[in-house]
């Protein structure tokens, strides 16, 4: 009798469990996808519209995927983002899809926080990696594995003070100009205008050995970051070239004020800065007393007109429970032409998609912001600069190694030493640090 009752009770429990399980499964539960992003521009220029693109993407995504909601925390500043994200990480509250800062990418991938996108890319037949600019796509790789996709990219361009060149009777160089052209112009414009015996007009500001090295095809480190190439001919040539230019300034330091006052002909500038200061309202705040434009970097004897390209990356958490949805959303953000076109409208960077950046539509968007008569950087040129651009190496000791190299090289430039042997010594020092 007792056993019978126990059987009935057990049956009831099992039935209740099955019923509640079925009810739970069939209920329309909302899936929430967390998105980690920061407010403001990645390129350190003012950007009031940072949410607009994301909001638009979220609206599109939620419309395509009923029952899915995307949530993001607003108000995390770019400077606080890394800390905010790290805290989330420590507490296992990592967002499913998130922006990755260039300074975090190496650390996070080596910790295994970012999902390996390889299998997802392989499975997804609609995904085409050749749609991205090579430099942008490769910057999402670490150790040969794709951990992030590029969202927005910014190449470095050369700012040209057209007013100054016109005054000196010099034509704005074309996009295939070289170090020799730059040196010639620098020699021409560097002089004492007001006759006080001190130079007050200069060729370049902020144009350093690194920019020169990039445009001379120099690689500074090997893939794994265990070996540097500062003694390499290409790098040495770049340093020598900078030394040559600095010689023109007779030991004087060119400052931002000189530049703002329109007394400097060239300055490296990111594409984001270019776009910010070319458009209202910032164009009246800066560089307003002269005409200016951007061109490519001058090519060294062994290199091309290329420069460093910075890319804002987005990745998926390795612990996400919504792998497929996260992948769909990441894809929407990084390779949907509509969303990527919005980057030109709402942000200051360039799209990472070849088709978008090179399109007529984008040129029209860029033209909208410009003054009449301003030359707009062509989509084709922009595409070339991005496609061929150098990307910052990803390894743990990169920043320390670079600051070590920077201080040594600037000391070397000031001291007028023999560049070749000093660069060899520097290479040994950096190698010793890297191999520690």
């Amino acid at each position: 009798m007792k056993r019978k009752w126990i059987g009935v009770l057990l049956g009831a429990v099992v039935l209740a469990a099955v019923a509640s399980g079925a009810a739970y499964a069939s209920a329309d539960r909302e899936v929430v996808l967390e998105f980690g992003m920061f407010t403001g521009s990645y390129w350190d220029v003012a950007n009031a519209n940072s949410f607009t693109i994301i909001d638009q993407a979220i609206a599109t995504f939620e419309a395509e995927h009923p029952g899915v909601r995307i949530h993001y925390y607003s108000g995390v500043d770019k400077d606080d983002y890394s800390e905010w994200f790290s805290r989330k990480l420590l507490r296992n509250e990592t967002p499913d899809v998130f922006m990755v800062l260039g300074t975090d990418f190496h650390q996070f991938t080596s910790m295994g926080i970012l999902k390996d996108l390889g299998p997802l890319m392989e499975r997804d037949t609609s995904f085409d990696e050749s749609a991205y600019f090579t430099s942008a796509f490769v910057s999402g790789q670490y150790g040969g594995t794709q951990y992030a996709l590029p969202y927005e990219t910014v190449p470095t361009l050369m700012f040209v003070n057209q007013t100054l060149l016109n005054k000196e009777g010099i034509a704005v160089p074309d996009e295939n100009w070289t170090w020799d052209d730059l040196y010639k112009i620098c020699r021409q414009v560097t002089r004492d205008i007001n006759g006080d015996g001190v130079l007050d007009q200069f060729g370049t500001y902020n144009y350093g050995w690194l920019e020169a090295a990039h445009s001379n095809g120099a690689d500074l480190f090997n893939q794994g970051g265990t070996q540097s190439y500062f003694g390499d001919e290409k790098t040495v040539q770049a340093v020598k070239f900078i030394a040559q230019i600095q010689e023109l300034y007779q030991g004087q330091t060119v400052t931002q004020e000189d530049f703002n006052a329109g007394k400097v002909a060239f300055m490296p500038l990111t594409f984001a800065e270019y776009r910010t200061y070319k458009t209202y309202p910032y164009k009246i705040k800066r560089y307003s007393n002269f005409q200016w434009d951007c061109i490519t970097m001058p090519a060294g004897s062994q290199g091309d007109n290329i420069s460093q390209v910075d890319t804002l990356l987005m990745g998926i958490s390795a612990n996400t429970r919504q792998e497929q949805l996260a992948w769909e959303f990441l894809k929407l953000l990084t390779c949907d032409p509509t969303i990527q076109t919005e980057i030109f409208r709402q942000s200051q960077g360039a799209s990472v998609l070849k088709a978008v950046t090179g399109s007529r539509q984008v040129e029209a968007i860029l033209q909208e912001d410009m003054d009449e008569g301003d030359r707009v950087i062509s989509g084709a040129l922009l595409s070339r600069v991005i496609e061929e651009g150098c990307i910052e190496p990803q390894f743990k000791k990169y920043e320390q190694a670079m600051s070590l190299a920077n201080s040594k090289i600037s000391a070397l430039l000031d001291a007028d030493n023999v560049v070749d042997s000093e660069m060899k010594i520097l290479q040994h020092e950096v190698d010793a640090y890297l191999q520690q």
């Binding site: 800390e83 790290s86 805290r87 990480l89 420590l90 507490r91 650390q107 910790m111 295994g112």
Partner: protein, 442 residues
């Protein structure tokens, strides 16, 4: 009694040490999880997360979940331990092995979950298995596995291949002073575990050595007892023989001696009388005849008294069957007894001889022939009884006039029978005994 007590206390000490190792390991695991969890909270509260991340290889996915999960696993370890002490000690069987297997799995999970930051759990598993596994080979295998596990589950080795978080990274988050304390605690926990384990091993070795010594001692005692028993058996046999001889001597003296003396005296009288009075002599001789018959009666009574017990109680068939059964039971020999006679009833001396010959035959077959099967047939051939005892033992190429065969021969010949032995195929005893089928002396 004293050694049992010693063993008990030793066993209790082993349990206690095992408990101590378990408690220490639980404390260490809990301490690590709790420390990582608290430090994570602290880092977040102090807004040092990004700086901290730069100093680590990787971080545990979810310190809070880890803490809960590890506590559940520790609970399982404690439960299996308690189960072994309270319940399974009296229920040897597969369940002990099951709890040990659970321990192994749980410890492996814990070590993995802690990213190999604490491998002292291997020692815990090893300690449990050493105490509970009897089989030497299994023990050796487990020992080898444990050593491999202890060496392989080492953080420094594995971190080359796997991204593993490091407790020392979390310790290094604190100020130098605090670091010193924390590192000491961490090291003390590790060392204490090893110290406890060594103490435990010594205890187990001690205990097992005690057991071995006890077994050896018992074996020696058994040996000497055996020796003594043999001596007793020998002595009692000889005593029985002596007693029997004395009885026989007395019997012979009392009956046969008495009768023969009477007959001799009577015959002397006859010799003296035969010429004087033949009538008288005839009377005397009749008397002597009567006396000698009386003597025969006496002799038969004496012989009767020498009959085996079984024959006293039972008839011959039953007695033989009882003997056959008893022999089969005490040795692993199959004995088949067959007879064509419904009624096996002979005179006592005949029954006695048959019984003894069978007994002797079985004894010989087992002792000398190492036979596994013995066939005994008893049949009537006219006025004779034919007794054949055949076995499948080693036989004998040459029949030696040994004690066993001589006895048989004597017994049979006393009844004017014949006996032959054949050792070519097993061993066969064939005895023919003329029987006084209906004749009686009475």
């Amino acid at each position: 009694m004293r050694s049992t007590n010693g063993n008990e206390s030793n066993k209790r000490r082993i349990w206690m040490l095992q408990g101590a190792i378990l408690a220490l390991n639980c404390a260490a695991v809990f301490a690590i999880c709790f420390f990582v969890y608290c430090t994570t909270q602290r880092i977040c509260a102090q807004y040092n997360a990004r700086t901290f991340l730069d100093t680590v290889v990787t971080i545990p996915a979810d310190p809070k979940a880890d803490l809960l999960f590890c506590m559940v696993l520790l609970g399982i370890l404690a439960a299996t331990f308690v189960a072994r002490i309270l319940w399974l000690e009296h229920h040897q069987g597969p369940w002990t092995a099951v709890t040990l297997a659970i321990d192994v799995v749980v410890c492996a999970l814990l070590i993995y979950w802690l990213d190999f930051n604490y491998n002292g759990l291997v020692l815990l598993v090893f300690a449990n298995v050493v105490a509970n596994v009897r089989d030497g080979k299994v023990k050796l295998l487990v020992a080898a596995l444990a050593i491999c596990g202890y060496l392989l589950a080492d953080y420094n080795l594995l971190s080359i291949y796997l991204p593993l978080y490091r407790v020392s990274d979390y310790i290094q988050y604190y100020t130098a002073d605090a670091q010193q304390y924390l590192f000491s605690i961490y090291n003390v926990l590790n060392s204490l575990n090893i110290v406890l384990f060594v103490a435990y091993c010594i205890c187990v070795i001690d205990w097992q050595r005690g057991t071995i010594e006890k077994v050896n001692q018992l074996y020696e005692e058994l040996q000497s007892a055996n020796q003594q028993l043999l001596q007793y058996a020998d002595m009692s046999e000889r005593m029985a023989q002596t007693r029997e001889r004395n009885r026989l001597a007395r019997e012979i003296h009392d009956t046969l001696g008495h009768t023969l003396t009477g007959i001799a005296t009577g015959l002397d009288a006859c010799l003296a009388l035969v010429e004087v009075s033949p009538e008288q002599t005839k009377k005397q001789l009749e008397l002597l005849s009567k006396v000698s018959r009386e003597g025969i009666k006496d002799v038969r009574r004496s012989v009767n008294e020498l009959r085996p017990d079984a024959l006293d109680r039972l008839n011959l068939r039953q007695a033989i069957q009882e003997m056959v059964q008893a022999m089969s039971q005490i040795s692993d020999v199959q004995i088949h007894f067959q007879t064509d006679q419904e009624r096996l009833q002979f005179d006592a001396d005949e029954e006695n001889a048959i019984y003894r010959v069978i007994q002797e035959g079985i004894t010989n077959a087992v002792r000398h022939g190492h036979a596994k099967e013995i066939w005994i047939t008893l049949s009537r051939r006219e006025q004779e009884v034919l007794l054949v005892i055949h076995d499948n033992g080693v036989g004998a190429a040459e029949i030696k006039n040994g004690f066993g065969t001589r006895h048989m021969k004597e017994r049979i010949e006393m009844l004017q029978g014949t006996v032959t032995f054949d050792g070519s195929d097993g061993f066969t005893v064939t005895a023919r005994i003329p029987i006084r089928w209906s004749e009686t002396y009475d």
